[in-house]
């Protein structure tokens, strides 16, 4: 057991750091570190820069165009990206549908879709949740009826993040309504330009637009866009769920948010001294820092096991639980730090182009909105209640 980085790991880390410093567009960095709204171009542009360096998709094996890193290297990569102010890499292609296609896709499907993800030529979205199927995903109702070489798909998906950016959607649909819940489901890839698809924005609590309803009305999907056998979609869904559960812990993101919290608390004043020097506020930060430290080392334990050939099972669910709770605690403290200036809400101030004088300190504008936005972290991606159910059943045998 040894917590120090090896020389090779240290060199790798330095290389990552230098690369972000030199190649991340300044405008993008400013938006990320200032908590401002990112455009699609910010995400895609950075993916392409990474791709040219051979680092995108960072989590893929070399045979499919990734760098083939081990779990520790991937951890270091994510850390340097976050600390350097790089935008989060959208997970839909590289963490979700990509690995599913690698595992279950035909050679034709691989040839068609994987290079497009590698080259950032397509943006994917995830068609899982439905109005009646949230935590109980297998209750989904979207129907796909076989007609010759096509499925005719009808139904509604919801909470679809970045559907309005997406070229393609991977989608769970019901192909056998007579079968038991999990057994009649198939996994389809759907071209978002297909006739019959309508994307309706859902405005979130704090005013942002990231999520959408997606209505499917007699959408024709070629049978060749089905991954795995008909009615075997649940296998893909479970595979995807188990994949990269560790990544959702987002330790690096929280480290960056912690640094931001400290920097805000250093600039905020309380009774003539920095808020950061106030023992009570400092103790609140320390509490979260310790929680994050514990999470980080729990992640490192699991990554070390994975590197040693013993990948984690359901026990990794707790990393998602704790990770999201910590993200929420951090955004809450950031909001608390600015006191009264958590109240003003000027939507324009969330955009990098806004040039008016801010109300209160310039860092304050996005903080309360970020707090509200982050409440979703414990709901999406398998709510924390579902994660607890998984651990209770699969780890504790309850």
């Amino acid at each position: 057991m040894d917590l120090d980085l090896s020389d090779a790991e240290r060199a790798f880390q330095a290389e990552l750091r230098a690369f972000v410093r030199e190649h991340l567009p300044a405008a993008t960095r400013r938006k990320v570190l200032g908590g401002l709204t990112l455009e699609k171009a910010d995400y895609v542009g950075w993916q392409q820069i990474l791709h040219r360096r051979g680092w995108f998709p960072f989590n893929w094996p070399t045979e499919h165009g990734g760098p083939g890193w081990d779990p520790i290297q991937r951890f270091l990569f994510e850390e340097e990206m976050e600390m350097g102010g790089a935008p989060r890499l959208a997970p839909f292609g590289i963490r979700m549908v990509g690995p599913v296609i690698m595992e279950f896709g035909t050679p034709e499907q691989k040839a068609r879709h994987l290079p497009a993800i590698v080259g950032s030529d397509v943006w994917w979205c995830q068609g899982y949740s439905e109005p009646g199927a949230g935590s109980d995903l297998a209750a989904l109702q979207t129907r796909a009826v076989r007609q010759g070489d096509h499925y005719v798909v009808t139904g509604q998906k919801t909470w679809t993040t970045f559907a309005h950016y997406a070229d393609w959607m991977f989608c769970l649909v019901r192909t056998d309504p007579a079968a038991k819940k999990q057994e009649g489901i198939s996994f389809l890839l759907i071209d978002m330009k297909s006739p019959g698809i309508t994307v309706r924005p859902i405005i979130a609590l704090e005013g942002s637009h990231e999520i959408n309803d997606v209505f499917l009305d007699d959408v024709l999907v070629p049978v060749g866009n089905r991954i795995a056998e008909e009615n075997q979609g649940w296998t893909c869904a479970k595979f995807l769920l188990g994949h990269e559960r560790i990544g959702i812990a987002r330790v690096a993101f929280s480290k960056q948010q912690l640094a931001r919290l400290k920097s805000i608390a250093l600039r905020e004043q309380k009774d003539g001294a920095p808020l950061l020097a106030d023992p009570r506020f400092r103790a609140r930060i320390a509490e979260v820092e310790i929680e994050l430290l514990a999470l980080e080392h729990a992640v490192l334990r699991i990554l070390s096991e994975e590197k040693a050939g013993r990948p984690a099972g359901a026990e990794a669910s707790f990393l998602k639980m704790r990770g999201t709770e910590i993200q929420q605690a951090l955004t809450e403290l950031q909001m608390k730090a600015v006191g009264w200036y958590g109240l003003p809400f000027v939507p324009e101030a969330m955009h990098a182009g806004w040039n008016e004088e801010p109300i209160g300190p310039d860092y304050a504008a996005p903080l309360a909105a970020a707090y509200f936005l982050t409440r979703r972290a414990t709901i999406y991606g398998g709510s924390n209640e579902i994660q607890r159910n998984i651990i209770a059943k699969a780890v504790l045998g309850l």
Binding site: S135, A368, F372
Partner: protein, 377 residues
């Protein structure tokens, strides 16, 4: 000792809840929030008719009843998620005049306030001052028979629609000294005042107020010169208590909405409210609301007590409401799942307001420290 509402208070509560049921829809709210003032002047006139704008003000100037009745109305307004400047104008502004005003000031302002013809706002906070009421950098220098005010005030609730501002300024002492603060009544359109209006995240309005060489007469002083902090503390304690009652109304509404949701939302073949883990969490939300209600009304009863007792009661209520409100708000959103995160359901709007109530005039940590400091033993 009697901890139940009197018959009159119960009638007030019933009529307030009735009005809120009619007015408290999300659609009506959206209209109000989108309007120029950010609230509904027609509804304000109704409040005046119902006598709500006179609550807690001295009877000699058209006032009636006291802090308990204010709490009853604020609790109902919490349920209705109202955006009118009741706290800003009637509670904060009204108490400042009622407690600090001369006979002439009261005679001039309070009837107008009670009749809905006058809007007041309290300009106390400053950038960099956080929740310390004694952090007053704005100066009031003697100028002839009057004063000249210079400085900036932060997040003045409903500051842009106010006719008169109650401004805390320093007539003596250093930055955070407890003496040397004086409250002034300043016409909002006086020369040298600029107001930058904006919306707040909870759908309310506020303004940054700058005072550059604003001249006022000696009769603009509210209360005693240099002794304004005690008055300001009392006014803010009334505000904290009213906010606590509002928060209770919000919690009750959130609990109702959450219960209705978990009783009907089906997952895994049954209503999610049948899952014991959710049941126990719903119980904790219920308990949080009940304890908050007990504290909000306790504080209302203590508003006439000597300053230290009044301050402890207000601080304790704000702490209880801060903790309970955080639990209820976060859990309500969580138990609503994705729907709780959208702008389309009133749940999210309640949550935002409840969150911002914790910030107003000092968050839970602030008032816990304040309570601890004042605690006997």
């Amino acid at each position: 000792m009697q901890f139940t509402l009197t018959e009159d208070q119960t009638l007030l509560q019933e009529s307030a809840l009735r009005l809120m049921r009619e007015e408290g829809t999300l659609a009506r709210r959206r209209e109000r929030v989108a309007s120029a003032d950010g609230f509904d002047r027609r509804l304000w006139a109704t409040y005046a008719e119902l006598g709500w704008l006179a609550l807690g003000l001295p009877e000699a100037h058209g006032g009636i009843a006291g802090p308990v009745e204010v709490a009853v109305v604020m609790e109902a307004m919490g349920r209705g998620l109202m955006v009118e400047p009741y706290l800003a104008s009637v509670v904060l502004g009204g108490q400042a005049v009622a407690q600090g005003g001369s006979a002439a000031q009261q005679a001039e302002l309070l009837p107008a306030l009670a009749e809905g013809r006058l809007f007041l706002a309290l300009a106390s906070a400053e950038a960099g001052g956080r929740y310390n009421l004694a952090h007053v950098e704005t100066t009031a220098q003697r100028e002839g028979a009057g004063y000249r005010l210079d400085g900036s005030k932060a997040v003045v609730l409903h500051g842009a629609s106010a006719d008169q501002l109650v401004v805390a300024a320093r007539t003596g002492g250093a930055l955070r000294d407890t003496s040397g603060i004086t409250l002034f009544l300043v016409p909002a359109t006086a020369a040298g005042i600029s107001r930058r209006a904006y919306a707040t995240l909870d759908g309310q309005r506020a303004a940054e107020v700058t005072l550059a060489g604003v001249s006022v007469g000696a009769d603009a002083v509210l209360g005693t010169v240099d002794g304004g902090l005690a008055l300001l503390e009392s006014v803010v304690d009334h505000g904290l208590t009213a906010l606590s009652a509002e928060a209770v109304g919000i919690m009750a509404a959130l609990n109702e909405a959450t219960l209705a949701h978990i009783k009907t939302r089906k997952q895994f073949g049954r209503a999610i409210g049948e899952f014991q883990a959710l049941q126990h969490r719903a119980v904790d939300m219920y308990v949080a609301c009940e304890l908050s209600r007990a504290m909000a009304y306790m504080a209302a009863c203590k508003m006439g007590a000597p300053a230290p007792e009044r301050a402890q009661a207000a601080a304790a209520a704000k702490v209880q409401v801060g903790r309970s409100g955080r639990l209820v708000g976060q859990e309500a959103v969580q138990l609503h799942g994705g729907m709780g995160m959208t702008d389309e359901l009133i749940v999210g709007h309640y949550f935002k307001r409840l969150t911002m109530i914790d910030t107003l005039f000092g968050d839970t940590d602030h008032h816990l420290a304040r309570y601890a400091q004042g605690m006997t033993g």
